[in-house]
């Protein structure tokens, strides 16, 4: 029997590309956020909400909309006249850094302040793939139940922000908000938790203010 030590990161090919993207964006002071949720938590609805506000504020941004097979989400965003690039993962359960790199190649990034990625609806796989983003956002919703942070801790641990969307449905559900918030805190005590409803607009302004501050911090290289 012979043995050879290798010790190589299985995700090295992805992580190297992600590192390149991070540098490319940092040299231009562009903030990149990656919205990760289970299917149907409301990512596209959220972008439909904040997109027009960002535009009105004069923020220069691009949305990269990930989808396994269809272009439905990109079409919804495009219908509002918002800048969007469709990323088709050809069935894969996550976006990888190579796909982000290719999408960025198709646009003029020099004129951007912000890149927003809508990841494929999935709480498991996207958490493993670095895209070169500044931060992931754990986008939860009341309809999926209060135990999701506990069941998917990696995403919560890696996200400085956890959104709990669909608060307008609380009266119809047995969702335990306190339990959900507490379990996020247990995993990531530093996480900023924002309760939100894309239907009523609750929490959208709070998110806009937070995002505005992060864009500024990125410009001042304080992020």
């Amino acid at each position: 029997m012979s043995f050879k030590v290798i010790k190589e990161n299985i995700l090295k090919s992805n992580d190297d590309v992600a590192g390149g993207i991070r540098e490319r964006l940092a040299s231009r002071s562009i903030l990149m956020i990656d919205i990760v949720s289970s299917p149907g938590a409301g990512k596209t609805s959220f972008l439909e909400n904040i997109g027009p506000r960002l535009k009105a504020k004069g923020v220069r941004f691009e949305i990269l909309a990930g989808d396994c097979y269809t272009s439905r989400d990109a079409e919804r965003i495009d219908r509002l006249g918002l800048p969007v690039v469709q990323i088709n993962t050809a069935g894969a359960c996550h976006i990888d850094a190579q796909l982000i790199g290719k999408a960025l190649d198709t646009i003029d990034i020099d004129s951007l302040d912000l890149v927003i990625v809508e990841n494929v609806g999935n709480l498991v796989c996207p958490a493993c793939f670095d895209l070169g983003e500044d931060m992931k956002i754990a986008f939860l919703s009341t309809a999926e139940g209060h135990d999701k942070p506990e069941k998917y801790p990696l995403l919560v641990e890696e996200s400085p922000v956890a959104v709990i969307n669909k608060t307008d449905l609380l009266e119809h559900l047995d969702f335990d908000m306190e339990y959900c918030v507490e379990s996020i805190r247990k995993i990531n005590p530093r996480a900023k938790i924002m309760k939100m409803s894309c239907k009523t607009g609750e929490g959208i302004e709070e998110f806009m203010e937070w995002l505005d501050e992060k864009i500024k911090m990125k410009k001042e290289k304080a992020l």
Partner: protein
Amino acid sequence: MHELKLAENIVTILEKEIESPEVGNVKTVYLEIGKLKYIVPDIMESSFEHIPKSSKLKDAKLEIAEVPVKIKCCFCGSERVVDDGDYFCRECSSGDTEVIGGKEFLVKGIEW
């Protein structure tokens, strides 16, 4: 769910490593995978099996060592394994802890 993509990456890494003539037909591939990565070993193994690979790798089996989640307190420095989903420091109750284990994703080595 992303086991297939990862299995492909593993094969790519291995193909490079077995190029050297001293490496014979690989029997075992040792992996180290953190618990936080939610890899299902069985799915990983069958994904690996189904990927086309060169003859030296044809009969290779995966041996997966799962690494527990481990935290280190940024305040008092104490370390412990997280077995209850609670990431607070038990020594000083600080919530300011850092994950230092459980995110591993390594090809450790091969045996032939």
